[in-house]
């Protein structure tokens, strides 16, 4: 698998090299860190949704859950709950959304597309209702998670942003879960052949619920991180983020038909999108042209990957 993704990884390197040459200030420590920071949230969502896609499912509610959990965390913080507990509340609320998604899919036997689409509406509606669509500023300390850094040595090296560290840890842990743990193996089995998995004694329903919880909890994490970066609750934000997350996974080789996908691939996929977005902006490419370029590069990157796999 590591080797499998070697060439898509090549795309990352090529893109990086191209922008280092064409975009002024792209290849500076400061900017690379900023790039990592910006991409970290997509990556986290992508990792989560990879789990659900491997089970032949999908999660469209990510964007709404991001907005909702961020809002809830800020409200909790404003209400005087200790900051770190407010973050955890965000995660727990995310996990709960995932649990509901999982229940609908396994209990009511809803297609994941419908269950999570319904969730999207419900969660967004709740977020808007409780805030009356207003953005609320959070206490300053709430911003620590999103804005502080580690190993700062001064202006030359502004330090590794916490979200980047979180992303790295999450990627390693979930790679491990997916490739080395029983639950990860079951995830592949369920997505590959659900009936065979069931007859092999795998509790298919439970595995699916776990996967949706993983996905929504990571969305909750992203919600908290983004709210922290903004130091504001934004019940109207993050809509459409699910598409970026799913695209990262698919660019990274995850198959929407289930059974195939890796955390590493998704990380690479999200970086392909991230580098392009940052690089094109820094290069000063016309915004409309950027869209065209992104579309073309996504197509080429995957087409290349596809040829190689044949």
């Amino acid at each position: 698998m590591a080797v499998d993704r070697f060439l898509t990884f090549g795309a990352v390197v090529v893109l990086f090299a191209v922008f280092s040459i064409t975009a002024k200030n792209f290849f500076t420590m400061r900017n690379v860190l900023s790039l990592l920071l910006q991409t970290s949230t997509t990556t986290l969502m992508g990792i989560g949704v990879t789990f659900t896609i491997i089970t032949a499912g999908i999660d469209l509610s990510i964007g709404s859950v991001v907005a909702f959990t961020g809002t809830v965390a800020v409200i909790a913080a404003i209400a005087g709950v200790p900051i770190w507990i407010s973050w955890i509340i965000g995660l727990v609320v995310g996990a709960f959304c995932g649990f509901l998604n999982g229940l609908m899919i396994t209990g009511l036997k809803l297609p994941p597309f419908i269950a999570t689409l319904g969730m999207t509406f419900v969660v967004r509606g709740v977020a808007l209702t409780i805030t009356n669509a207003n953005a609320w500023p959070a206490p300053d300390a709430f911003g620590a998670l999103g804005n502080n850094t580690l190993f700062r040595t001064g202006p030359k090296f502004p330090g590794i942003p916490y979200p980047v560290i979180v992303m790295a840890i999450v990627a390693v842990i979930f790679h491990f879960i997916l490739r080395k743990m029983r639950v990860g193996r079951y995830t592949y089995a369920v997505g590959s052949n659900e009936e065979a998995a069931r007859l092999s004694g795998i509790k298919v329903g439970r595995i699916k619920i776990i996967n949706y919880i993983i996905c929504s909890t990571l969305a909750g994490l992203v919600g908290v991180i983004l709210a922290s970066r903004m130091v504001t609750s934004q019940p109207n934000s993050a809509s459409g983020y699910e598409l970026n997350a799913i695209a990262s996974a698919v660019i990274g080789g995850t198959s929407l038909m289930g059974g195939v996908g890796t955390v590493g691939g998704t990380v690479i996929g999200s970086f392909i999108i991230g580098i392009m977005t940052v690089g094109l902006t820094m290069q000063g490419t016309n915004y409309f042209m950027q869209q065209i370029v992104i579309g073309v590069v996504v197509i080429l990157a995957v087409a290349f990957d596809q040829r190689r796999n044949k």
Binding site: Q38, T41, N134, Q234, M282
Partner: protein
Amino acid sequence: AVIVKTGNSSFWQNVQTGCFDAQKELKAKTPKFSVTFLGPQSESNVAEEINIVESAIDRGVKAIVLAPSDVTALVPAVKKAKDAGIPVVIIDSLLTGATSNYVSFLATDNDAAGRACAKALIDLVKAKTGSDSGKIAVMSYVAGVGSEIGRVGGFKDYIAKNSHLTIVTTQYSNADMPTALNQTTNVLAANPDLVGIFGANEPTAVGMGRAIAQAGLAGKIVAIGFDGNAALQGFIKDGTLQAIAVQSSYNMGYLGVKTAYDAAFAKKTVPAKVDTGFLMVTKDNIDSTAAKNVLY
């Protein structure tokens, strides 16, 4: 009667203040004159707003000031009012259908607001660097929507005609705050010599403000925002943003009532379109009453 989209938000509370200030003034001329301020529970409660309008007509009010929640849904109700001989003044948002249905339309002139932002930016850059040249960036929201065309179009036009500033890039955040934050971060990183930046709506301006603060450029770069929520006021106070153009909700109420009065009591012909204006809020005037009236 003044009928707005909803009663329970700070923006509309400002509108109400304007209405009652106008009432005070006008009572002096016409003692009978009084204003009722109505609105549904929420901005999207269109049907209730229709009901409110219809019951106002039934009550036989002399004039209606209306902020339509929906561009089409209120057309029949407004027509009914016209048929009943009640002049209607539309504020804040556009209503489709024949313009003859209502007597006046009062809203922010986005083009003018954009130009004012440009002027403020040019002035501040001049004050800071002593010249009117250099690079600036425009952080816009949704490409091509009505208000954006006016606001950003006016801004760019003014910059081009009145300064030597060059706009290096225009980004569109789709009104998503984190996106605005990321885009601004990248623009700032790519252009260390940027002298000014304009964030064209509320979430975009907030995201832009955060990016400037995080890049450590607060105060070092001229930054103009739009709209005036709590976060943006904070940025003005701490010097991250130098100015915000705040739409005058107060004026919408104040001028709305006055226009309605002119149409119904003074029997004057009123202008078909009125700019309710906006206020440039800076550190210097943020605590003034005028600013308090528009901020929410």
